[in-house]
């Protein structure tokens, strides 16, 4: 297979289409294109934490069966909530044969899932499959002068057994930006919760959390806050929209991590979101701009 099987999930086809577009661009440039999983369905969105709730793992397992049907043994997600749910279900059914048998028995119109699918996040594919040197070599428009705050949030790095990196001090996103010439700013809210789905019935709570993330990034000198989750992105954008005039956060751009990477790898600036584009134009020193 010339490429890697890719699980989109709901947001990547709707509110986060720019995440998908920029990731497609990056992976094409790096020679490992994303191949969309055929007949994929919702991952389940959140991982069920009660021991007896196998029903909600079925959605993820169906996607593993689709992956097997493609003849593959790995599946890459971009959305970090999808990644977390898929990766935790994969671990559960791999380590708990009884649960796997029950799920297989329930899905009587599917082939049995025998376990073993490796769920990856695009960040670990970039690190472990592509490597920072190749990414650096592919950066035709390095991001010199751009200050990036890498916001990991929760589901990329917790719990430890599915974390893409160290849970307390992850560097994988920073290493990607380092490879393409950006300056990475340290900020203490990199793995703090944005308020997540509480935005539905507790929008105040979510706003407060997201605002603190942005303020922390701004005080650390960031131009861009890079995210890996459509829900983090939504909550941070909402905080910028509602509280943007406070404390100098108004100059921040919030972007999926693949968007500045795509810019560094040559994506035309008119395909980038306006906020990121204007930050890139004002911050990045470009030689021989296209």
């Amino acid at each position: 297979m010339n490429g890697i099987p890719y699980f989109p999930g709901c947001s990547l086809k709707d509110t986060a289409s720019e995440f998908e577009n920029s990731a497609f661009f990056v992976m094409e440039k790096l020679g490992l294109p994303l191949i969309e999983l055929e007949r994929w369905n919702c991952c389940g969105t959140v991982y069920s934490l009660t021991a007896d709730d196998l029903m909600h793992h079925i959605a993820s397992v169906r996607n593993f069966i689709r992956t097997r049907e493609m003849g593959a043994d790995e599946l890459v997600a971009l959305c970090s909530m999808c990644y977390n749910t898929l990766a935790r279900v994969a671990r559960r059914v791999d380590s708990d044969g009884e649960a796997r048998d029950k799920i297989n028995a329930f899905m009587d119109r599917e082939i049995d899932y025998d376990g073993g699918i490796k769920v990856r996040h695009l960040l670990d594919v970039l690190r472990d499959r592509i490597g920072w040197e190749r990414i650096a070599d592919a950066a035709t428009r390095p991001l010199d002068g751009l200050n990036v705050a890498c916001y990991y949030g929760c589901t990329l790095v917790r719990p430890k057994d599915v974390s893409v990196d160290d849970s307390e001090n992850p560097t994988v996103m920073a290493d990607a930006f380092d490879a393409v010439g950006a300056s990475v700013v340290e900020f203490p809210f990199a793995t703090e919760c944005c308020g997540t789905y509480q935005v539905v019935d507790r929008p105040d709570l979510s706003l407060e959390r997201s605002y603190r993330v942005l303020r922390s990034a701004a005080r650390a000198g960031a131009d861009v806050v890079a995210t890996a989750c459509p829900l983090c992105q939504h909550n941070l954008e909402r905080a910028l929209d509602k509280l943007g005039e406070h404390d100098g956060i108004e100059n921040l751009a919030i972007a999926y991590f693949t968007e500045p990477l795509a810019a560094a790898l040559g994506m035309e600036s008119d395909k980038l979101p306006e906020g990121l584009r204007s930050v890139l134009e004002s911050r990045v020193t470009v030689e021989g701009d296209a």
Binding site: C10, D14, V46, T50, P159, K160, C193, G195, Y197, R209
Partner: protein
């Protein structure tokens, strides 16, 4: 009306242990979970107090808002020195309410504009956590 009037609190700790698969009595009340929790100021009990309540089979625990404020961010889970997964305990408490048909959120109370503005990832995640 306090919700405990409609949900049995008999053997609460044992039921939570069964649902979560966690050992509540491994906790020695160091407070690390409460120290790192990003949402304690919205809670009427600290996360460590929720575990203490379970250890004591406190019948008022189901009236606390802590389980609904908990967002399963797992900051507590990665830091607990005794390996207690507090997020699973919170989920078990939510599930006890939800399995008694006591939803915490009603989609009927959201306006059309609210629903239009919210991405589906937020709506689905919220309803997965707060409705049965």
């Amino acid at each position: 009306m306090p919700r405990t009037k409609t949900v049995s609190t008999v053997n609460l700790c044992a039921r939570v242990e069964e649902l979560s698969g966690e050992n509540v009595f491994a906790c020695y009340q160091c407070g690390m979970c409460s120290a790192g929790c990003p949402l304690t100021e919205e809670m009427d009990r600290l996360p460590s107090q929720v575990i203490r309540g379970l250890q004591l089979d406190d019948p008022t625990l189901l009236d606390s808002n802590a389980m609904w404020v908990c967002a399963s961010c797992l900051a507590c889970e990665v830091r607990c020195p005794k390996g207690v997964d507090l997020a699973k305990l919170m989920e078990a408490l939510r599930q006890i309410m939800l399995r008694n048909a006591l939803d915490n959120v009603s989609i009927d109370e959201l306006t059309r504009d609210q629903i239009r503005e919210l991405p589906q990832i937020a709506l689905v995640a919220n309803l997965r956590k707060k409705t049965g």
